[in-house]
Structure formats: C-alpha cells, structure tokens
C-alpha cells in the first residue's frame, strides 16, 4: 500500500484519509441510499465503482466516524410533532458536563449540547432539543429537564420554531 496521497486527499480529525472517491460517495448518498435490492451496485453504476468497493468505502466512512449513523430519518414535523422547542439553560460551569450527560439520557431529548456563552447577550450554555404535538407537551418536557437540573440552573427559556415557520413559509431546510 502506498503512503503517498493525492492533492485532493484530506485527513479527518481522527486520522482517516478521505479520498476524492470517498467524497463522490458522500455526495451521491447524502440525499439517501437508493431504495433497491442492491443499493451498492446501483450507486456503483453512477460512481463507476463496483458494488464491493462502494460498500467497503461506505463502511470505512462509518468506522471513521465520518458517517455518524445510517438510518430511516423521520421528519418529525411531518409526523405531527408541530412544536420544536430548543430549550436553553444557564448552568453553573462546574456542573454542566455532569448535567449535560444526564439530560442527554432523557428519552425525549433528541440533541443535547454544551455551547459557549456570549455575555451579556447570551447566557445559556446548555441546549436540549425537545419535540411535542402541542406547546404544553414541550413545556412539560422542559419542566422534567428543569427538575433534573435543580439549583444548578440559574435561568432558562424555550425557543419555539414551528409556529413562525409555518406562517411565513420559512421552513428553510436544504
């Protein structure tokens, strides 16, 4: 195996060398896999690779963490979760890692991240995404998060998306 890489090869943070062919595969699959019996052969026709190469490259991207997961990705809004609440919390710094992990474990939280504050404009350092069929459902879930956080939480709010997006047609996902 050669150690040289072409100009277009790039190394990911964890040392995986991504080639132009990998990038072509990413582009060809980012809107989804072909829904046919042998999706790899179908992709191979487009990419001029054989099915085995497509599958092994795909698995390598998955092993390297470039592909986070492969899934039937639901559109929660279409399913009826009309209220998407980005709950944001101002947590005492030395407890945010421990509490973030606890909030991430809650079954109804779809994402949970720590992010930097931008004082005085933005004081929230923990973000947890929750979804509901009503506002009350989102608020109930936020209350459950609040209960876990206890005294470590100094303030919090919920930023809803769906109502405005629907009215102005601003559902801008590409």
């Amino acid at each position: 195996m050669s150690t040289s890489t072409s100009l277009s090869d790039t190394e990911t943070q964890n040392g995986f060398v991504m080639t132009e062919r990998d990038r072509e595969l990413i582009l060809a699959t980012q809107a989804g896999l072909p829904l046919v019996s042998d999706p790899w052969a179908e992709l191979g026709k487009k990419l001029n690779m054989d099915a085995d190469e497509v599958l092994s490259r795909f698995q390598a991207l998955q092993d390297a963490g470039v592909i986070r997961r492969v899934a039937a990705v639901p559109d929660h809004y279409r399913l009826g979760y009309r209220y998407n609440g980005m709950t944001v919390w101002d947590i005492v710094d030395d407890r945010v890692a421990e509490l973030g992990a606890a909030i991430g474990e809650l079954p109804f939280v779809s994402h949970c991240y720590r992010r930097p504050r931008h004082l005085p404009y933005w004081s929230f350092n923990l973000f947890a995404m929750v979804h509901g069929t009503t506002r009350e459902e989102v608020e109930d879930k936020a209350a459950q998060i609040r209960a876990v956080l206890g005294d470590a939480c100094r303030q919090n709010t919920i930023l809803y998306s769906s109502a405005i997006l629907k009215k102005t047609g601003l559902r801008l996902r590409k």
Partner: protein, 154 residues
C-alpha cells in the same frame, strides 16, 4: 398522517441504525417478517410522503469538515430578506425561525475552520447584524432521534 403498524415498526426499529450490509433491505425484511419488496415499497412510500426525510447516512460534519450553529436578531420586518441572504451563503444547511430576539438560527458548514470563519465573517458583514456564534463545546446526545409517541400523534 396515518401509518399502519408495519410502517411504525419500520421507523421505530430503524430510525437509529440501519444494517450496512450487502442486502440491507432483505436484512430488515427478515427481522420484521416482511418481504424485501415490501420493505422497499414501504420505505419508498414513506419517503414520498416525506414522513422520512431520507433513508441513508447522517454525516458528522466535524469529522469531514467544520460546522457551526449561529443566530442573528433580524428586525421583524426584514426577516424574510435576512433569511434569504443566510440561505444563499455557502454551506448553510439548516435555517430555522424561532420566537426570540435572536430569531434566525442556522448551521453553516465548510471544508475547514478557516473557510468557515471566512464565510461567517462575510455573511455577518453583508447582513450588518451581530452574529451569535455557538460552536459545540461538548455533545451529550447527538442527533440519535427519540422514541416516537404514536399514541400522542394519532
């Protein structure tokens, strides 16, 4: 949106992880007791109805490049205009209007951090609005979905 038991089961079982093997749909069919053709037909129909946004890979942008969540406080009357400008900026893949002073929230991606900062600077300059830049410091639960409460939806 009414989905039958098999559709629900497909979503419940495969919204987190789909088998990556030679015949993935056959594998799914085997474990759900359906035929491969039925699995393919159902997934295609769910995708057509946009109940599934796709069946496929979810990429980790921090591995393949750089990405960042940012927000701006657009004056109410200019929201559409500002949102359209954000959408035209290179690498923007999400943009949500939210009920808050910071009312437009978007994710920008780029091949590397230098380029990302450059594109964000350009957009900030074009918008003439201060931009809240909120990189992920730590992820505790990263986009693995959540259990669908079918009863609440019906």
């Amino acid at each position: 949106m009414t989905l039958d038991a098999a559709d629900r089961q497909l979503i419940d079982s495969y919204q987190r992880n789909l088998p990556v093997c030679e015949r993935p749909y056959e594998e799914i069919a085997r474990s759900l007791g359906l035929t491969e053709a039925e699995v393919i037909h159902r997934l295609s129909a769910l995708q057509e109805k946009q109940v599934l946004s796709r069946v496929g890979p979810v990429f980790e942008h921090s591995q393949a490049g750089a990405s960042l969540l940012a927000a701006v406080a657009a004056p109410e009357a200019q929201m559409d205009l500002v949102a359209a400008r954000i959408n035209r900026a290179p690498g923007v893949n999400h943009n949500y209007a939210r009920e808050h002073t910071y009312n437009l929230w978007f994710v920008m991606t780029a091949p590397d951090h230098e380029l990302l900062d450059e594109h964000l600077d350009e957009l900030e300059h074009e918008l003439r609005l201060p931009m809240l830049r909120l990189p992920m410091v730590e992820g505790y639960h990263i986009d693995l979905g959540f259990d669908i409460d079918w009863e609440a939806l019906s």
